[in-house]
Symmetry: D2
Subunit: 350 residues, 4 copies
């Protein structure tokens, strides 16, 4: 039983991390912090957790938290983690960072994609990108984890098998549809129910910062430089991401070859499911049937008319796209059972 | 480890029973039946359960199922259960009936509320109404369980403390708002997304059949004849029920007295939560924060202007309002830990 | 052709007033004000109106606006109107006030229901309550209009026929379900899509300020003091209100008598529809099929089991519940065709 | 004033055609047919139209309808129109066909995309593709109109300016997100609210039949063969389509050049709006702010990282994507004012 602290656990990703860790048998959540809600019971903010914890929010500094726990989850805004992490690492506490601050291996990607110079570039190598399906072996000996971005990992899951198999040539074209929870719990007119309901809002037609991670990881598995372009939309739902990823090919890719690539990538993966059916309601992956779980669902089709390979992937953005992946990676790092706390069936209909 | 069969498990309540029981440590689901999907894998219908079971739907008769299992869950339409149950009981298999066929103690209530004569009135006494918060002691020695209706139990949870405390005089006025899943998975124009989305549909302004259960149980706990009137609405959501229940009083009921009644009814209940807050987003019960769980959330207010006591209760209609209550009651009946398979935190936001 | 100004037209009700008035053949909208958006084009805020107007928001004072127009629409917060209206009236400009500040005839109702003393009680009699179905004759000679509250008028439409016919004895029980737009465009965590979607939130179990209007108007049509209690819920939709209103009766009220009461109240009303059908999708009023229109739909049922008369009424909260009623009343006051600008069919499905 | 008949007006597109035509000043809707609802009043099916018409559904044959009217709207399933149209044309009645049966100029496209041989290939030239922005001149002398498909025209609006300007080289990649009403009012488990809500369902990853129209029209405006690939998704809303269309370019396309292409295509178009803003809620086109109107909203961005031109277009699928475009084209054909019956501002928020 290890002690875990969560810094910034009043938001959605932090709340889900808390929910999962409260039900995790190898972990005790000993401290959660929030400046805004310091002194308040956690269930005043995460009302859903009433009955599951009597924890109160602490206003302890991250460094003080670090001195009390074995693993720290950071659910802080991008750019905040890099300020507090160096001293935590000095202290020897392990960090599971849910922000973007240590995801990219190349320091130059930070000014390019995030608009700021990385102030601790030497620490980038101390973090392992928390995607078990690609980095499981490294995670076993990892000290710290940089947990992937939600639209990033959803896209990577769909495209990595093709990259690994050498089938992904040319620029990958990604169209993502995300639920509102992906943009967090901060308030604005745009996030008002009246403004968001019944809308399909393209919030990032291009230049999404997650492209940096996507290109990094696809390049990693393929062994060559990969390029991607993404249009990101927010749709009328709370949870989930669907990524429709595609790329043009010189010649037709037959189904058997795709299955081979899938198996080479995902054989024995506990959280990958193929959703491919000729009948029924759910013939392809859909965020609706992964919601509430750590699964990633994957399917594919080939467009013979245009020579386009199409991959479809769906996740729960707050679980497999955030807190679930973080816990899965921590489980591996700490030598726990990889699926501990995460093997929950999705609900239907929800 | 007992063997359980589910008859009619292709619908929503049966699907949730299956989901819960697949993750229940004292139970093996050995057979699930469906005429329509016989021979097909369960996950072709309940795609969410892919990865959790390789069971196929069987077309075995209920009687054949009964001979193989210790407990049978019946998730069949009202009026069907009464046809198959007598022979199952003869065989000695325990039944957890999720239909209405054995909920009412007085056979005359069937023609009155359901429009048909009960054909096995002598069996009504063989079933215990599966509401642990009222009938826990009886459930310990029960042989068979009649699991409550969804809007019925949600209303009962809100009103029973007042009935038990002798505070409920006059007719209880219940206004329920249910999610679409309460009406099952059968198709009709009215249930089409295009027709149902963005609607508030009063589907039963009065005369809802669940009133029979409500009056029966409220009368049971109060020891006197209770009367209720309900208007039932289907709103733009999939899961959950909110019941706004009220009654006029001669004089003001002070808060302390209500808390006393609540505690007298729900002290130490594992699945009852009070949601009452002066600040925050969720100040009263809301289906949104119980969804995916077996909790019932309860709150109350007193209208001094009109001398009206108002009780607010929220459940997940498919869990606490159906499969969850059924499993909770079975756990008690079978001597399992009462919360086994059911102690899952709700998700937020969902 | 008259000139109209709208003060505070950046919100939802003001935006709808603008939309309607831009398409009104007897009106020219000559000035719209907004402190926040002064200098900006209206369509930067109300993007839907792009192509319909090149108006820019002005930061003129209400008094300056008054000097330029024939009629002023006030779409300002409650408590603001009473500060600016006295000087406008002095100047002789007609006011259509969409706030609550001049709705109540009895000054004492303001401290009781709104928590503040009315500072211009002598002006209350200068305003006519803008509900054409009750006050059409007074509106013909009105100088100023106090446009009704949204949940108030929806409830009044459902109950007034009974009150007028002397059938409403005892306290009226009102349960309303409103769309999110009823709470305006100000931002808060509670109004975030992620928090509001899939919820049924009881935001005012009792003590809603609109009860003051409801009791006032029901008492007016019945000639005796009427009492009401209301529980108000916000549901998962943007537009519309459904009011389920009821009252207990000594004896059964037969349908013919209700029809008589309805006709006595609503005969020849251009915007009242009865929705009562034994088959089809929409058997009772539903916000879904009035959305986008100035109609109020009405239906009813009698609960024989509990001797309760049930009235169901639905409106578009921003049209019949705000801007539409305001324009309808203005049309009468100014001698225009009553339906001008308002006779638009609802869309389906929406 | 001409007489118009609508065949098959019980569905959504037919219902919207009826709604628009009932409010059209140059048209009398004299007959509407429906086999299923023959003899019933129209408002029993389209409850929203109560108060706007007392028409009853007729079971007259299309040919009988043709003999009574000047223009016939056909809102029948694909494959039905081609059976009834030849005899109607012989009779000289003008046809506005909302099905796909006469949209494609090349008869060979029917077996290729629709799977059936066209039985009246010589009549294809008698129909003008009803997209005023491309075919206005032809429509002025047209006899019959083939009204475009909803996802087709939305995509064409986004891509045509580039095609016309010679900027569209290589395959166009289209990702569409449609509301549920695009799939009509027929019932199935997949269209149930419980199954569709909160989902993002890719229903046609490739091979959508509308590609045939898209390629035809883009080739027409560009004067060279154009190719397209489309992935079509159904999202959690009722109305509207967003098309995110893109294509790779050799070199960067500067904004001024795009504006030039837009103006060359859409100058003076009454129903085209550009939605491009650096601030505010709606910075790009969104179905939410065209819903209820005949507008098409267009925006664009250039991805410098991947050399990809991105066009964003949004329509109301039942209006600009069906009945509105049909009426607009009819207006031109009949010499009416082009905007008659169609110049309605969208509602917000809806």
């Amino acid at each position: 039983m290890i002690k875990v602290g969560i810094v910034g656990s009043s938001g959605y990703a932090g709340g889900e991390a808390l929910r999962i860790l409260l039900q995790h048998r190898d972990v005790e959540v000993s401290v959660v912090t929030s400046k805004k809600y310091a002194g308040k019971q956690v269930f005043k903010v995460h009302t859903n957790l009433k009955g599951f914890t009597d924890l109160k929010y602490s206003d302890k500094s991250p460094l003080d938290v670090a001195s009390e726990v074995d693993v720290m989850f950071l659910a802080v805004p991008h750019g905040e983690s890099v300020k507090i992490t160096p001293k935590i690492l000095e202290q020897g506490t392990r960090v599971v960072d849910m922000s973007a601050d240590f995801r990219l291996k190349n320091p130059e990607d930070y000014p390019k994609w995030y608009g700021w110079e990385h102030t601790a570039p030497d620490l980038l190598s101390k973090f392992t990108y928390g995607l078990a399906e690609i980095h499981r072996e490294e995670l076993k000996s990892a000290k710290n984890i940089a947990s992937p971005g939600c639209t990033a990992c959803c896209s990577i899951y769909g495209l990595a098998p093709f990259a690994k198999a050498g089938m992904l040539n040319g620029t990958a074209i990604i169209d993502v549809k995300t639920g509102s929870s992906a943009s967090g719990s901060s308030v604005s007119l745009a996030s008002n129910f009246s403004e968001h309901a019944n809308s399909v809002r393209i919030y990032k037609p291009w230049g999404h910062r997650h492209i940096a991670e996507i290109e990094q990881e696809l390049s990693y598995v393929s062994g060559k430089k990969q390029k991607a372009t993404m249009s990101a939309h927010s749709v009328n739902m709370v949870r989930g991401i669907l990524a429709t990823s595609s790329f043009f090919t010189e010649e037709e890719i037959v189904e058997a070859k795709v299955w081979g690539a899938m198996r080479a990538m995902y054989k024995d993966e506990p959280f990958v499911r193929y959703i491919m059916d000729k009948s029924g309601v759910f013939r392809y992956p859909d965020p609706k049937i992964v919601a509430g779980s750590n699964f990633v669902d994957i399917g594919f089709e080939y467009d013979k008319h245009a020579n386009r390979m199409i991959s479809i992937s769906a996740i729960d953005n707050l679980i497999k796209g955030a807190a679930g992946n973080a816990v899965q990676s921590m489980n591996i790092m700490m030598g726990f059972k990889e699926t501990e706390g995460l093997m929950q069936a999705p609900f239907h209909p929800m």
